[in-house]
Structures are given as C-alpha cells and as structure tokens.
C-alpha cells in the first residue's frame, strides 16, 4: 500500500494510505483526546473532541474520520482547540447528571479523565439537571441514562461486533436516548445475548455490571480488541 508522508505537530510521519489522522498520530505517540472513538468499530465523528487543525483547510476536522493525505500539516493542539475541547466537555457535564462522587465509574471514567486532563475545573454553563431514568431490569447489567454521553459506542459494538442489534438511539437532540430493542426495558429484550460488550465499550458509568458500587466499574477493553482482531485477522492474540 502506498505510504503518505505528513507532519503532525511538526513531526514528520509516514502513514499508510487509508489510515486516519488519529491512527497516524497514535502510532507516532501523539495523543489526541477522543471519546466516541473505539478501537475495533467504525468511527462516527460525533464527539468532536479529536478535532484538529489542518493547514489550508478553514474547517476543523475530526482526526478519527479524516484520512491522511500526502503533505498534510496537522496541528493537534492549540489554544483554540484546547478551548473548544474544554467547552465541549463542559457542555456534556451540564447536559446530564454526573455525580462522580457516587458513580460506579469514579476513577475509571474516560469522561472524567478527559475533564481533568483538559483542565476543566468547573462548568461555566448552567447545569440543566434533567430527569433521566435508570434501567436495572437486566439480569446482569444496568443502564443509567444520567451518565450517558450518547457516544453510541455501545450501539456500534452491539451491532457490529456482537451482531445482536439490541442497542439503538431514539429521539433527537438533547432528548436522544439509548434504547434496547423497541424502546423497552433491557430485561425484556429478546435480542440481547447478554454478551456484555456494550458494558465493556461504554466510556462512562452509564452502562455497568450490576452489583458494582462507587468506583468499582472497571472495563477490560482489551477483550473487545481481542474479538475484533480474532474476527478480522483470524489471529487469537490475548495479552
């Protein structure tokens, strides 16, 4: 495959033709903040945290869905990008009810980690304090909509890795909601195979194993990667 040379943050990088800017940066050890990206499933470019500046393009583009090109000059960090990323995070915290102190994911949450690593020490927008429910009808897992960031990682793994097609999105705008089957309680879902992949994929405390209490919900994302590698490359490599 043809290789492309580009610079990311001033660093000369060579990447394969079909790679995304995010892949190229990751290989070069440059970290770009991401939230909706999940190794193993296709990208949707929804969270906009991975936006980067590309010379010659007036628009900011998401690194996870932008393909590398010859001679591309990418900037993954700037005053402006940092400001926008922080604002996006503030919007997320103001959008639903995140009470880290009593959250199963406290300390293991991608959203929380993004917030502190991007210097978000408080949220400047008025909290909306919406009313959302918690679905604990499933035998093994629970879903707390208060903590969902609508990244659709659960939907994508459920459809494209497990192939069950249980999880979906209903509604639109701020009323969007992750649903199971035809918007019924998870416990009554016929299609859920109880594989737990969605729980493993979730970046926040929205999906959790029942019985976990504050801070106990740790995820083993390597398992997802293992399954994807096994399926796509027919290699069974577990660390």
């Amino acid at each position: 495959m043809a290789a492309k040379t580009l610079t990311i943050d001033g660093k000369q990088i060579s990447a394969e033709e079909n790679e995304t800017v995010l892949q190229a940066a990751t290989e070069a050890g440059i970290k770009i903040p991401t939230l909706c990206h999940l190794e193993g499933v296709y990208d949707v470019g929804a969270c906009r945290l991975c936006i980067v500046e590309i010379a010659g393009t007036p628009k900011l583009l998401p690194a996870c869905t932008t393909k590398v090109a010859e001679g591309m000059e990418v900037k993954t960090d700037s005053e402006r990008l940092r400001k926008y990323r922080r604002m996006i995070l503030e919007l997320l915290f103001a959008e639903r009810n995140h009470v880290c102190a009593v959250c199963v994911s406290n300390g293991h949450c991608e959203l929380q980690a993004l917030a502190y690593s991007l210097g978000m020490e408080h949220v400047r927008y008025d909290y909306t304090f919406p009313k959302w429910s918690v679905d604990t009808t499933h035998r093994l897992f629970g879903m707390d909509h208060n903590r969902c960031v609508l990244c659709t990682r659960c939907v994508r793994v459920c459809w494209h890795i497990e192939g069950a097609g249980t999880k979906n999105v209903s509604g639109r705008g701020a009323k969007s909601k992750i649903i199971t089957d035809l918007n019924q309680s998870w416990g009554t879902s016929d299609s859920c195979t109880e594989c737990g992949k969605c729980v493993m994929a979730c970046p926040t405390g929205a999906l959790f194993q029942k019985g976990s209490t504050v801070g106990e919900m740790e995820r083993d994302r390597d398992k997802l990667e293992f399954i994807v590698t096994a399926r796509e490359k027919k290699q069974w490599i577990a660390d």
């Binding site: 400047r124 509604g171 705008g173």
Partner: protein, 548 residues
C-alpha cells in the same frame, strides 16, 4: 415516443385551446381557502351560461400572490380576481361577456408581477400541473429530447458548467462542477436524488414548484441522470406536502405512460426511473448525508464528509443530489441555451432566484427575480413595504441558518456573495420581513429554539450547545442575564459554528450572531447589573492577599 410524437401532442393541445381561459389556482395556499370549490363553481357557471366551447376552466399552480388567494385569472381579459369565493363564480363568468364581477380584483400589471422574471416559475399558474399535455404544450420535454439525441453526456455537463447555475438548496455549490464529479466516477451504478425536504420555517418555494410544475423537475432530473450516467432517481419529499407528492406521483405515471421516463426514453438507450421517498418531517433530513441515510431506511443523521455524495452516496454509490429549484432550472437551460442563462443575473450568481416572501409585508407570496436584484426592489416595490404604515426594520434570509439584514442595507443586491458579506446567506429562498415592532432577541431565540429542537443529537456541540445558547437567549429575553452571560453566548456561537458535524450545527448560531452584529443594543438593553460578578468587591484585578 419520438420527437414527432412530442410535437404532435403539443400541437393537438394548442389546437384544442379555447378562446377564453379561466385560470384557477389549485396550489396548497389557495386550496386551503376552498380553491377547489371555486373551480367547481366556475365550471358549473360556465356550463350554465352555455360557454363550454369558448371557456376553459383550468386548474393551475401557484399564481404567486398567495396572500390574496384563492386567485382566478381570466385570459385574455387580463383580469385577476382575488379572495374569490365559490359564490363569486357566476359573476366572474358573467364578467367575461361584459358583466360586473362581484369579486375583488387586483392589478395584474402591478410591480409585484411585472418585476418578476420567470424561469423556474414560468409554468406556475399557467399550465395544469396534473396534465402532462399542458407541460408539453409549453415546450416541455423538448430539452430532454435534444440532450439525448444531440449531446453527449460530456457536452451536457459542459453546458451546465457554462450556464453558471449554482445549487438552490442553500450553499450555492456550482451545479456543473457537481455533475462533472459524479459523471467522472467510473461506477456502474449511480443515483440522482432531488432534495424536496424543504424544512426552513417560512419557505414554500420548492413546494410551489412541485405542485405547480412537477414535470420541470422530472425533466431536469432526467437530463441530469443522462449527464452523470445514472438510471435511478429518487425524490425525497417531506410528508407535510401531500399535494406535491400526489402531483409528483401523477406526473411520474404520465411521463412513464408516454415513454418519457422508464426504459429507452425517446427511443434512445437511456433508461431512467424515478421513485418518491417520503420524509418523516425532520429538518436535518434535508442535509444530504442524512437524507441519503433516510432513503436507505436508516436513522436520518448526517455523517462526516468527505466522502462526498458525489464519490460515495446512496448505498455507497456516486450520487448526484440537487435541490428542487436547481432541477427546475435545468430544462430551460438546455432549451434556451447556457449562454442565455449565463446572461441573466450577476457575475458570480447566474439566473434567477425564487423567494417565499413572508412576514410583515403587504404582498406575501412567491417571487422570482434575477440574481442581483436589490433587496429594496423586492420588499418595497414588489412586496409593497410593511403593512399598516409600519417601517421595515430587517429582512431575514436563509431561515435558521441565515441572518437578518438591517434596513440600512436594503440596497444590497441579492446574490450569494453580497448576502454572505452581511453575515446572512441566500439559503433556499425563505425571506421574512420584519417591521419596527419586531424584537430581534426574540427572533434569535425563535431560530435557536428551532435548531435545538431539530438537532439530530449526534454531535455534542450542536446537541448540547444549542440547548445552552437557547438557555442564555431565554435569560436575556427575560431580563435575567448579565454581560457575562452575553460573553458566554458569543463564545458558544463561535465554538458551535466551528466544531459541529453538519451544516445544521455549523449555521445554528447565524441568526444570533447576525442580530448581535446589527442590533447589539437590543441585547444590551436587556442585560442586568451583575452585583455579585467579578470585582463586585471593588477590586479591579486579581486581588493581592495580605498575609500576616
């Protein structure tokens, strides 16, 4: 069908023309005030007067002055009756022979009509949209014939480039360039899609075109399909337009029957079919990638571009997607020539633009004017200015993605570049006039609420950002906001515009930013003092702490 057959239909139709035609608007605007009843009574009155051989009562599309509907026109008497009721019918018929009509009339030679320049709306209000023969009599489908038999697909694309037509769906992308990209793709399967989702509040141009002259859109699509090498077309029309959908269905059926759609059109190897897909009423489904997802039967949410539809569109195939009005321009361009078209309008904006004129203005309705026509001509001369002695304060174009142009800029020519310079956009053609009583903060809040409700929720800046911007606008309007809130609003506008995934989010801040640009004083007048804000303790800067 060959050319000869087409001309035969035209001549037969013309030969059967009666001396007098009563044109009766049967588009949705007039239909909502009993135009159908008016037409029936007119036909009955004609029969009762024994004038069937001399008078045709013809249902036609929109006659443009919708606010005065139902409209009835009498040819060749050059009379235009307004607000006609079924009871007026006998006297209108009587007036054909010198009697006195008891229906109100308006001057068909007024500026509202005379300043129009019709390409897209040439048949609107003239031909019967439910009869293909009417369209053929107006030279319909001749362009398609010429294209299929006299031009190569490459010629067709080149002529489109030369015409200078730009997309009428909002962004003004050069149509020829788009056709060329799809044409160049080697894919065996390609699609043509007509975007008839028209979701902007206040816009009804596309609906009128579909209801008044559906065949022009079908012919335009067929020419485009030939140019790019597609054999299947879709029209994505919103469910709120039942009349447009019914007329499109009828038009497709008629065109198929005559062999103007389907296999081997005009005895050429060119095949083209058109199907209708009905949208369920989400504004975002007008965005091209969301629209295609919806046609595929998926949830209608946009996806990042590239790849653009021209490279990978519907079902992964190269897809040409144009707006209704864009397609409706096409037949005339090939019938009259690209040079003719390029001679109309301004240097960078060719042809005409249809606007749905609405709001605080005397004459509301449809207007079509050459690009570059000053706004003032449209709102003051044609629109007749603000009603009830009011003064015009601003003109809004581009709907929820556009901006407000204040009255001091009324001399701005209407073209893509000039409107863009003023922080607005041409948009799809909604034009809302505001008078001195309009509260600009309310306007910004209204459009922000629209965007908030219509956000698909996929990306965070738009989904959560519109909620916060709306919240701040709400606070400002309710006199609960401080200067700090206004600063936050401006910062959000900038972020949402630069980081959102699709055009909805990217343009959602426009109405707010444009009213802030021209009417900032209205915002500031509503701001409250900030007694507990920074430095409310008297300190002018970061205070130094005293230690022991």
């Amino acid at each position: 069908m060959i050319y000869h057959d087409l001309i035969a239909i035209k001549e037969k139709e013309l030969a059967a023309r009666k001396k007098i035609v009563l044109r009766c608007c049967l588009a949705a605007g007039c239909m909502s005030s009993d135009a159908k009843g008016v037409k029936e009574q007119l036909a009955k009155a004609v029969a009762e007067a024994g004038l069937q051989d001399q008078v045709e009562v013809r249902g036609v599309g929109c006659m443009k002055l919708c606010c005065e509907g139902p409209l009835v026109a009498a040819d060749p008497q050059n009379a235009l009756y307004v607000k006609v009721t079924a009871a007026n019918a006998p006297s209108i018929v009587a007036a054909l022979n010198g009697g006195q009509a008891n229906a109100a009339q308006t001057n068909p030679d007024a500026a509202f009509f005379k300043k129009q320049f019709s390409i897209v709306l040439a048949n609107s209000g003239v031909v019967d949209p439910e009869r293909i023969e009417g369209y053929i009599a107006a030279d319909g489908y001749q362009a398609l014939h010429e294209v299929l038999h006299e031009m190569t697909p490459k010629d067709v694309v080149e002529a489109m480039v030369k015409s200078g037509l730009r997309g009428r769906g909002g962004a003004g992308f050069p149509t020829g360039l788009k056709w060329g990209t799809v044409a160049k793709s080697p894919s065996a399967k390609k699609y043509v899609i007509c975007n008839a989702d028209e979701g902007d509040p206040g816009a009804f141009m596309d609906r009128s075109v579909l209801e008044s002259d559906p065949h022009s859109v079908l012919e335009g699509m067929a020419i485009a399909a030939y140019a790019v090498g597609a054999d299947q077309g879709f029209i994505y029309c919103r469910a709120e337009y039942p009349l447009a959908i019914a007329r499109l269905n009828l038009a497709i059926k008629q065109a198929k029957t005559l062999g103007l759609l389907g296999a081997g059109i005009f005895e050429s190897p060119f095949n083209f079919n058109i199907d209708i897909r009905i949208g369920a009423g989400a504004f975002v489904c007008g965005e091209e990638t969301a629209l295609m997802a919806s046609v595929e039967g998926k949830r209608g949410t946009p996806r990042p571009r590239p790849p653009f539809p021209a490279e990978s569109g519907l079902f992964g195939c190269p897809t040409l997607l144009n707006n209704v009005e864009t397609f409706a321009n096409v037949p005339a361009i090939y019938r009259k020539g690209a040079e003719w078209f390029a001679g109309i309008g301004t240097e960078k904006s060719k042809g005409t633009k249809v606007f749905a004129l609405a709001g605080k203005i005397k004459n509301t309705g449809l207007i079509e004017v050459p690009m570059g026509t000053p706004l003032r001509t449209i709102v003051e001369e044609m629109g007749g200015g603000a009603p009830d002695g009011g003064t015009i304060k601003a003109v809004q174009t581009g709907g929820p993605s556009g901006g407000c142009i204040p009255s001091q800029h009324l001399d701005t020519p209407v073209d893509y570049e000039s409107l863009g310079k003023l922080g607005s956009i041409m948009g799809s053609g909604g034009m809302i006039v505001m008078d001195q009583t309009t509260n600009m903060v309310e306007i910004a809040r209204f459009f922000m609420e629209f965007c908030m409700d219509e956000s698909c929720g996929k990306c965070i800046p738009c989904r959560a950002g519109t909620v916060q911007m709306h919240h701040i606008l709400d606070k400002i309007a309710n006199r609960q906001a401080t200067a700090r809130d206004l600063a936050k609003l401006e910062e959000l506008c900038d972020m949402v515009r630069n980081t959102s995934l699709c055009g909805l989010g990217q343009t959602a801040p426009n109405p707010t930013m444009s009213t802030l640009r021209f009417f900032r004083n209205e915002y500031e007048a509503l701001l409250q003092p900030d007694p507990f804000g920074p430095h409310s303790n008297g300190a002018a800067k970061q205070p130094e702490l005293a230690t022991k």
